[in-house]
């Protein structure tokens, strides 16, 4: 994408029928640090990579609880993400107050998408520079949606956004068929593996990632560092041994010992910078 005369404002179409400002906003999402989400029939797990600017600072919050049954992970302009999370929390709490019932996640996602669309059709606004992975439960089960700056939304079994997300996506594509019936713990392990893919060689430890879970009978919550480290240790033991790559045939096993780690960090899939 190169600079051209049709990209100054969002209300200008290019002759090819593109809105460049919207596409540039989607670039901002790709620059943010990775966030991933995956779901089974009853649970959804969100994970993200947290890189602090320096050793002295804390890392940015990228996962937000929106309500007991909905949470969101963001990638891109975190300030925009924070503002949208506040909007989502507001919508949820207003619905809960009026109807004493949780807002169905499918409806929240449409409202969010409509809000993003407005910014693509006003000359005095700019699109939100953040991609949101919305995880939530409603009457029809567990759902994972991705909301883009363009105002589109899609439902996914598993997805990854942000920088080096292609590595995670490739891992998820290999494994997604087992997710629907996976147990909660296996889902979390898969999330950690997917995050490891995006780290490209760096050691996976609980200080660089955040994991959150929501499921039937389990309100949305972020797992604490100690628990996450425990889970990492539980499967990483075997991970270094590069067992035959955990290809699609492999059953997700509950015992850490039997775990054949995914392609060992640094090997296999080369990141594709989009």
């Amino acid at each position: 994408m190169f600079r051209n005369q049709y990209d100054t404002d969002v209300t200008t179409w290019s002759p090819a029928g593109r809105l460049f400002q919207v596409e540039y906003a989607m670039e901002a999402v790709k620059q943010g640090s990775a966030a991933i989400g995956l779901r089974s029939k009853t649970h959804i797990v969100l994970g993200c990579v947290n890189k602090a600017n320096s050793e002295l600072s804390s890392h940015q919050k990228k996962i937000f609880k929106v309500d007991d049954h909905i949470g969101v992970a963001i990638a891109g302009l975190t300030a925009d993400g924070r503002v949208l999370s506040r909007y989502m929390r507001n919508e949820c709490i207003n619905y809960s107050f009026t109807y004493e019932s949780p807002l169905p996640v499918g409806r929240l996602v449409v409202q969010l998408a409509d809000k993003a669309q407005v910014c693509t059709q006003r000359s005095w606004k700019r699109p939100y520079g953040v991609g949101l992975l919305v995880a939530g439960l409603d009457e029809s089960g567990a759902h994972l949606y991705y909301n883009c700056p363009s105002g589109n939304y899609f439902e996914y079994q598993a997805f990854a956004i942000g920088s080096r997300s292609q590595a995670a996506k490739t891992y998820l594509e290999r494994r997604f068929e087992s997710f629907t019936d996976a147990s909660r713990d296996d889902l979390v392990k898969d999330a950690l593996m997917a995050i490891r893919e995006t780290l490209q060689g760096e050691t996976l430890k609980s200080s660089v990632c955040t994991i959150a879970v929501v499921g039937v009978g389990e309100p949305f919550h972020i797992l604490d560092q100690a628990t996450v480290q425990q889970m990492i240790d539980a499967f990483e033991i075997v991970g270094e041994q590069e067992g035959p790559a955990a290809a699609a045939g492999q059953e997700a096993s509950a015992e850490p010992e039997a775990e054949q780690g995914g392609a060992a960090a640094g090997e296999g899939v080369a990141p594709m910078d989009i």
Partner: protein, 245 residues
């Protein structure tokens, strides 16, 4: 010459509300509604009378209506306010349907929505003069609740409005139990409605019973209850009375 105190508040001080009136009293009213949970859902009964003060003026008023796929609303009190509530709910259900997704508002949601409406109106000193009964069943879960004109709301296994609270609830407390069959439920409701017919002067002998189950809502054709007036106590009512009246 302002020494005569005006009964009306001065229009200018009220600002934008100066030309509207607040509800002071109801005009055309419906009497009790009684409802109970039974095996397959909810049964609700109400007569078809619309009183104009002490005159039993309208005799074909349907005081129970289906709301969406899962709920049934019965109302006592001002009939025109009930019609207004039906319009609000119609719009609510319409917007719910327009989402066209797998979700729908169940009886719990409708009940809470109504509670908010009634309470908000009460806070503005302009109440909808009704006592409402909202029952329904969704995904196997039965729900039965009530909201008053001041926003008091609660759920229970059996509810009633107005005189029904005094005459029907005690009977229900004695005789209601879980998993009533349809026939037993109807019999119990008829027992309550008969007592109301004898003792509530705004009741008329023309009632409907509505039921709501997972399959949907059905409402009976209007019918009347058999009554018996040959009790010896009625023959010479003042016989044992003490006092000048």
């Amino acid at each position: 010459m302002n020494f005569m105190a005006s009964k009306q508040p001065e229009n200018s001080l009220l600002g934008p509300e100066s030309d509207s009136q607040r509800t002071l009293y109801p005009y055309v009213t419906g009497t009790s509604v009684v409802a109970l949970k039974y095996k397959d859902g909810i049964l609700m009964a109400a007569d078809m009378g619309g009183s104009y003060g002490s005159t039993l003026r309208y005799k074909n008023v349907e005081r129970m209506k289906a709301i969406g796929k899962h709920s049934l609303l019965g109302a006592s009190g001002e009939i025109s306010d009930f019609q207004e509530i039906l319009r609000y709910l119609d719009e609510l259900i319409l917007y719910d349907n327009m989402w066209d997704d797998g979700n729908s508002l169940g009886p719990k949601e409708v009940h809470n929505y109504l509670t908010r409406v009634m309470y908000n109106r009460r806070n503005k000193f302009n109440p909808l003069w009704n006592s409402l009964v909202l029952g329904g069943i969704k995904n196997g879960q039965k729900y039965l609740g009530t909201v008053s004109m001041i926003g008091v709301n609660f759920e229970d296994n059996h509810v009633a409005t107005g005189f029904g609270n005094h005459l029907a609830r005690p009977i229900l407390r004695q005789e209601w139990h879980e998993n009533l069959s349809f026939e037993d439920g109807v019999r119990l409701l008829e027992k309550c409605m008969r007592v109301l017919l004898y003792r509530d002067r705004s009741a008329i002998n023309k009632l409907q019973i509505a039921k709501i189950t997972e399959e949907g809502m059905t409402i009976s054709q209007p019918y009347s209850l058999k009554t018996y007036w040959e009790f010896s106590a009625f023959e010479n009512p003042t016989q044992g009375a003490v006092g000048s009246w």
